[in-house]
């Protein structure tokens, strides 16, 4: 029982990553591909944060009478990764808008010739 219980966070990270990747590959609409990409990345953020948590420790902000803190380094890395994820989403969505105005559609099966298919 302890194996499942201890690793529950890791199972959820794996499932979310698989869902995110599945959406990115099978989504027919480009906006949904971007949503899938975000879900895929958020799974990685969850992996880093569960890595840094110490059971019985509180948040890494100094408070009197507290000795055990969680590890601040994964939090710093994930702060960077979240902003990188939003930056990629913004550029991806503006590309989707330009594709809509250039092709008139953002559905993958409606692109005519093969080389346009995403």
């Amino acid at each position: 029982m302890s194996l499942i219980f201890e690793h529950f966070n890791h199972w959820v990270v794996v499932i979310l990553m698989m869902i995110g990747l599945y959406i990115v590959i099978t989504a027919n609409n480009l906006v949904k591909k971007v949503v899938g990409l975000n879900i895929f990345q958020s799974a990685v953020f969850l992996m880093y944060i569960t890595m840094g948590k110490v059971v019985g420790g509180t948040a890494p902000i100094l408070a009197e009478g507290v000795t055990q803190y969680s590890n601040p380094l994964p939090h710093v890395l994930i702060l960077t990764a979240i902003v990188v994820g939003v930056a990629t989403t913004a550029v991806g969505l503006s590309l989707v808008l330009r594709i809509k105005s250039a092709y008139g559609t953002i559905e993958e099966n409606e692109f005519q010739n093969k080389e346009d298919v995403i």
Partner: protein
């Protein structure tokens, strides 16, 4: 006292789950927006309770940000929803 706090945290979590169910299975789009709005306000309360459960009540800034983003999200949904219904 902390067992009462934990119980109320769990209670709010259950209400959040019901609101989430409403947001997922919704006859009309307005019901979905309603579910999301209720989910948002309940999360604000949940974060406040979690702050107290974990003994670090000075984290209420996050609850404030939640309330903010929930309101702005609500306005954005209403605003762009009128556009999408016109555009197709």
């Amino acid at each position: 006292m902390d067992s009462v706090l934990a119980a109320s945290g769990l209670g709010i979590l259950i209400v959040m789950a019901i609101a989430l169910a409403r947001a997922m299975v919704a006859p009309t789009v307005y019901d979905r927006i309603l579910g999301v709005n209720m989910f948002g306000t309940k999360t604000v309360l949940f974060i406040a309770t979690i702050g107290f459960i974990m003994g670090r009540p000075d984290f209420l800034d996050i609850a404030i940000v939640y309330a903010l983003i929930n309101f702005i999200g609500m306005v954005a949904v209403l605003r762009f929803f009128e556009y999408t219904s016109e555009s197709n």
